[in-house]
C-alpha cells in the first residue's frame, strides 16, 4: 500500500516536527534562563548601589571624626601637626653603621686552630 518513498517522507516529516519542537522547547528554556539571569543581575546591581551608599555612609568624615573623638584617649590619637609632615628630601641620611665583625666566628680555615686529623711521626713524639 505505502510506497517506500511515502514512508521515508513521513519519517522525515515526523523527524522535522520533533526537531522543531525540541528547538522551540530549548529556546523557551533558554529564554527563561535569560530572564532569570537578568533578574539576578538587576538584583546584584541594586545591591551594589546600596552597598556603595552604605560604604559612603560609613566612611563619612563626620562619622569618622566622631569615632576618632570617642576613641581618642583609648587609642592615644592626636591631630597631625604641620611639623610632623615632611618630604622625602627632608629626611636625614641614615647614618652608616659599621658592624663590629671582630667577635663573629670567622669560619673556614681561619677558624682557630683546627685539629688536624692526620697523625704524623713528628706529632706523636
Amino acid at each position: 500500500m505505502f510506497r517506500t518513498s511515502d514512508i521515508v517522507l513521513i519519517a522525515v516529516m515526523v523527524a522535522a516536527a520533533a526537531f522543531t519542537y525540541k528547538t522551540k522547547h530549548d529556546a523557551e528554556n533558554r529564554l527563561d534562563e535569560i530572564g532569570k539571569l537578568e533578574a539576578a543581575i538587576r538584583t546584584e546591581e541594586d545591591t551594589i548601589t546600596i552597598l556603595k551608599a552604605d560604604w559612603s555612609l560609613l566612611t563619612q568624615p563626620t562619622r569618622l571624626q566622631k569615632l576618632s573623638e570617642i576613641y581618642a584617649s583609648e587609642l592615644n590619637l592626636q591631630p597631625v601637626q604641620a611639623n610632623q609632615i615632611v618630604g622625602l628630601d627632608d629626611l636625614p641620611v641614615k647614618p652608616i653603621e659599621i658592624e663590629d665583625l671582630s667577635n663573629q666566628p670567622l669560619g673556614g680555615m681561619a677558624e682557630g686552630p683546627a685539629k688536624d686529623q692526620t697523625v704524623t711521626g713528628g706529632i706523636v713524639q
Binding site: E45, D46, T49, V80, A82
Partner: protein
C-alpha cells in the same frame, strides 16, 4: 463505519410505531446522526468559546495604584569619587486583602521577618476587604528577600527610587535637592537637570545604566572640615550664621563651601526657611574692610600709587553729614602697607580718591564684585550698588560699605589679586589650570598681584590677621568687621565679620574666606571683631585641611628670622 453501526437499529425498527417514533425524533437515521453531531458540536463550541474568553479577558486588576515612576538621576561624586548623592531602590510591602487565604497565618509569618509589626492593626487592615493596603514602606533589601521567600499569597512589593545623600547636611547647599518626582529643584541637582537631563528623562532615555556620574570639584574631606569649623564657630560666638569657602586660586574651582544653619537633604522639611539659605552665594552683605584689599589693589594698579606712597590719615573725613573715622586710628600720615595693616578707613578713602569715582566703580565691576556671578549654582544673588555714584559712595565703597556683594564672589575676586591677576568664573566642576587661564580675564597687573601678596602676608604677621597664622603654611589675609545696617542705620553692636585669606603666601594655591554674622564675644569682656572670630575659623580650616589640599608645610620662612633673633 457509522452507518454500519446504525444499520441494525434501522432494520429492527420497521414497525409503524417505531417508524412513527423515528419520524418524531427527526425522521431518518441520517438526521439522527446529524442531531448527535450538532449536540456535540455545540458542547465543544461552548468549551472552545469559554477558553477563548478566558484567554482574552485581562486577569482581574490587582496591585493597587501603579508604582510611581521616578526618573533615574546620575550619581554625584566629589573630586575623589566619594558619593555625594545617589539613587537607591527601596521596596514597600503591600497586601491585597481579598486574595489572602489565611489572614492569621499571613500575619504570623510576616511577624517572623518584621517583629515590630502591629498585629491588631494589620489584622484589621487585612480583614477590611479592600483591594489594596500598604503594610510597610521602605523595607531593606534583606527584609524584602526574606518576605519573598515566605511565599505568602496576596502580598507584593512596589519598588521606588529615592535620592539618597550619604553626607546628609555636609554639602547640602552645593548638591541641592530633588522633589518627589526626582527632579532637581536646588543646587547642582537643578543644574544637572538644566543641562539636558530633564529632556532626556521626558523622552524616557535616561536609564540608570547610561547615566555617568557627575564629578564635582568639591573635596568631601575639606567640605566636612569647613562645615565642622563653622558649626563650632556658630555655637562658640553665638552668631546667627556662619559660612566659609575654600577656593583654588589657580583654577577657580570651589573645593569646599558651607553655610550654617543648613538643612538635611534627606529630610528637607526646613530647606526653604529663610535663615537656612546659602549665605555664601545667595546672601548679600556689605563686606566691610576685606574690600580694602581691592581698594589698595586698585590704587596700586592705577600706577599712581606704590607701596611707598603716603596718605594723611590724621584727620577724619567729613562728607555729606557723615564723618569717616578710623577704628584703630593712628592719627598720622600712613604708608600704603600701614593703611592696609591698620585697616585705615581714611587712608582707603584717599586711595580711592586717586582713581576717581568712575574709575573706582569700573574697577569693582572689573573684578566682578558688582555683577551677578556666573557659575553652575542656581542660587546666586545679584549684588547691589548705588544707582548713581557720588563722592560719598566712592569713599564708603573704599572700605566696603554702601554696596553689597556675595561672600563667594569676594573670594573669587581675591583670587585674581593673588594669582597674578586672572579672574575666573568660579566653578563646582573640575577644571584644569590651562582651561582656567584660557577662560580667565586679566584684571590686574602681575606686579600689583605681587604687592598684594606682600601686603596680605604682612597683615597676618603684624596686622589684624595674627590669629589666622598657622605655623608652616604661610597664611596671609585681611580682616573685615562691618557694622550691619539695622533700620537704615549702621548699628554699633551688630556686626558682620569676615576674614579673607590666602595660603601659602609665596605662591597662593587656595583662597579661604570665612564669614560670621552677628557674632557675640566668646566670653564677656572679649571683643567680637573679625580678628577674634573670623580669623581663627580660617586658621582652623587651613590647619586641618592643608595636608589634604596638597600644600606642603615649610618652616624655612619662619625659621630664618627666629634663628637670627635667638643669637
Amino acid at each position: 463505519m457509522i452507518p454500519r453501526l446504525f444499520k441494525p437499529k434501522q432494520e429492527t425498527g420497521t414497525s409503524d410505531i417505531v417508524v412513527d417514533g423515528a419520524r418524531k425524533t427527526g425522521g431518518s437515521p441520517r438526521a439522527r446522526v446529524l442531531m448527535t453531531m450538532a449536540v456535540f458540536f455545540v458542547i465543544y463550541a461552548v468549551i472552545a468559546g469559554r477558553l477563548i474568553y478566558f484567554g482574552i479577558i485581562d486577569p482581574e486588576e490587582s496591585g493597587g495604584p501603579e508604582s510611581r515612576v521616578t526618573a533615574s538621576r546620575p550619581d554625584i561624586v566629589d573630586r575623589n569619587g566619594e558619593v555625594l548623592a545617589t539613587d537607591i531602590k527601596t521596596a514597600s510591602l503591600f497586601a491585597e486583602p481579598r486574595r489572602i487565604v489565611d489572614t492569621d497565618e499571613a500575619i504570623e509569618r510576616l511577624q517572623t521577618i518584621l517583629p515590630d509589626l502591629d498585629v491588631e492593626q494589620t489584622y484589621r487592615k487585612l480583614k477590611s476587604g479592600t483591594g489594596f493596603v500598604w503594610l510597610r514602606r521602605q523595607l531593606t533589601p534583606r527584609q524584602q528577600n526574606d518576605i519573598m521567600a515566605l511565599g505568602i499569597p496576596g502580598i507584593g512589593f512596589r519598588t521606588e527610587k529615592r535620592r539618597f545623600y550619604p553626607g546628609g547636611p555636609t554639602a547640602a547647599h552645593i548638591v541641592g535637592l530633588v522633589n518627589i518626582d526626582n527632579r532637581g529643584i536646588a543646587g547642582l541637582e537643578k543644574y544637572i537637570d538644566d543641562q539636558g537631563l530633564a529632556d532626556l528623562q521626558e523622552s524616557g532615555l535616561a536609564t540608570a545604566g547610561d547615566l555617568k556620574s557627575v564629578r564635582l570639584s568639591i573635596d568631601l574631606r575639606v567640605q566636612h572640615i569647613v562645615r565642622d569649623e563653622i558649626s563650632v564657630a556658630l555655637e562658640k560666638y553665638h552668631a546667627i550664621a556662619a559660612g566659609a569657602v575654600v577656593l583654588n586660586a589657580k583654577t577657580g574651582e570651589i573645593i569646599a563651601m558651607a553655610s550654617v544653619p543648613d538643612f538635611d537633604p534627606n529630610n528637607p522639611f526646613n530647606a526653604q526657611d529663610k535663615d537656612r539659605l546659602n549665605r555664601m552665594s545667595a546672601g548679600l552683605y556689605e563686606m566691610g574692610s576685606t574690600i580694602k584689599s581691592f581698594t589698595t589693589a586698585m590704587a596700586l594698579d592705577s600706577g599712581q600709587v606704590t607701596l611707598e606712597s603716603k596718605f594723611d590719615a590724621s584727620r577724619p573725613i567729613t562728607i555729606g553729614g557723615q564723618t569717616i573715622r578710623d577704628f584703630h586710628g593712628k592719627g598720622r600720615v600712613l604708608t600704603v602697607p600701614e593703611v592696609f595693616i591698620y585697616s585705615s578707613n581714611i587712608g582707603s578713602a584717599k586711595e580711592a580718591d586717586v582713581v576717581g569715582i568712575e574709575g573706582h566703580r569700573e574697577f569693582l565691576h572689573r573684578v566682578g564684585l558688582l555683577d551677578r556671578m556666573d557659575t553652575e549654582l542656581p542660587e546666586v544673588a545679584r549684588p547691589t550698588e548705588p544707582r548713581v555714584w557720588k563722592k560719598v559712595h566712592s569713599i564708603t565703597a573704599a572700605f566696603g560699605h554702601g554696596f553689597s556683594t556675595t561672600p563667594l564672589q569676594t573670594a573669587v575676586a581675591a583670587a585674581s589679586l593673588m594669582n597674578g591677576g586672572y579672574l575666573f568664573a568660579p566653578t563646582f566642576l573640575p577644571r584644569s589650570q590651562e582651561q582656567a587661564i584660557a577662560e580667565a580675564k586679566k584684571v590686574v597687573d602681575e606686579r600689583t598681584s605681587a604687592d598684594m601678596r606682600y601686603l596680605y602676608r604682612l597683615n597676618a604677621e603684624k596686622g589684624s590677621g595674627k590669629r589666622a597664622e598657622v605655623p608652616g603654611y604661610r597664611v596671609g589675609g585681611k580682616t573685615g568687621t562691618a557694622e550691619k545696617v539695622v533700620n537704615g542705620r549702621y548699628s554699633g553692636d551688630k556686626r558682620f565679620n569676615a576674614f579673607l585669606a590666602a595660603f601659602p603666601m609665596d605662591d597662593p594655591q587656595y583662597i579661604v574666606l570665612s564669614i560670621i554674622d552677628e557674632p557675640k564675644p566668646e566670653k564677656p569682656g572679649m571683643g567680637a571683631t573679625a580678628g577674634l572670630n573670623a580669623a581663627p575659623i580660617v586658621a582652623n580650616i587651613i590647619r586641618r585641611s592643608a595636608s589634604m589640599l596638597g600644600v606642603k608645610p615649610d618652616f624655612g620662612h619662619e625659621n630664618a628670622p627666629t634663628l637670627v633673633s635667638y643669637q
